[in-house]
């Protein structure tokens, strides 16, 4: 988890974060957002910002050759958000099965680092349970322990 990260601009009022991925396909702006969907649950969103349409594409696979640095940056953003928002859960659902599997792999990989400081739940068929490593889930809830 000790990986280089990109510098991040953030909008404290709207819980948007943006950073510039620089790789083999050039410069791609990445947006992370946390949207309030319940009084103590924020939905995690992550996608590419299109400079022409000024919209976000959360299904694009940019293949910019810097996935580890991008993911390290996204993880850092999520941990910052959770640290600054006590008692708040973030809900993570991939925009595709591939994305969900990617989030699953991240949680499996860093579970031992996270579990002492974070509550992590996974859901299958709408049933949330405490996250078990190497179990496939459809969505995740995470919050920081204080």
């Amino acid at each position: 988890m000790n990986q280089p990260t990109y510098s991040v601009r953030f909008d404290a009022d709207n819980d948007y974060y943006i950073f510039e991925s620089i790789g083999k396909n050039g410069s791609i702006f990445k947006v992370v957002a946390f949207s309030k969907i319940q009084h103590n649950v924020y939905n995690f969103g992550f996608g590419d910002y299109d400079l022409e349409t000024k919209a976000i594409d959360d299904e694009n696979v940019s293949d910019n050759g810097d996935m580890i640095k991008v993911l390290a940056t996204v993880i850092d953003i999520a941990l910052k958000f959770l640290s600054e928002n006590p008692m708040i859960f973030i809900l993570i659902e991939g925009s595709s099965k591939t994305r969900t599997q990617l989030y699953q792999r991240i949680l499996n990989t860093y579970y031992d680092d996270l579990i002492d400081s974070y509550e992590i739940y996974g859901s299958n068929d709408g049933n949330f349970e405490e996250f078990q490593k190497n179990t496939d889930y459809e969505s995740f809830l995470i919050r920081k322990l204080f």
Partner: protein
């Protein structure tokens, strides 16, 4: 209650965060991840949680 322990998370390189007004990135009325958020609300509405989950 769990005891917080210093983990490798604390040793992460520090990302530089710069505060900006990012609402200017989007056209007026545009809600980032609107469809995704709508789906997430449905997920929560239909979800079942362990007993006492929300009272922790």
């Amino acid at each position: 209650m769990k005891t917080l322990q210093k983990s490798s998370i604390d040793k992460l390189p520090k990302t530089v965060f710069i505060e900006s007004d990012l609402s200017l990135l989007f056209p007026e009325g545009y809600e980032p991840f609107a469809e995704k958020n709508a789906r997430a609300k449905e997920t929560l509405k239909k979800a079942k949680f362990p007993e006492g989950f929300w009272s922790k």
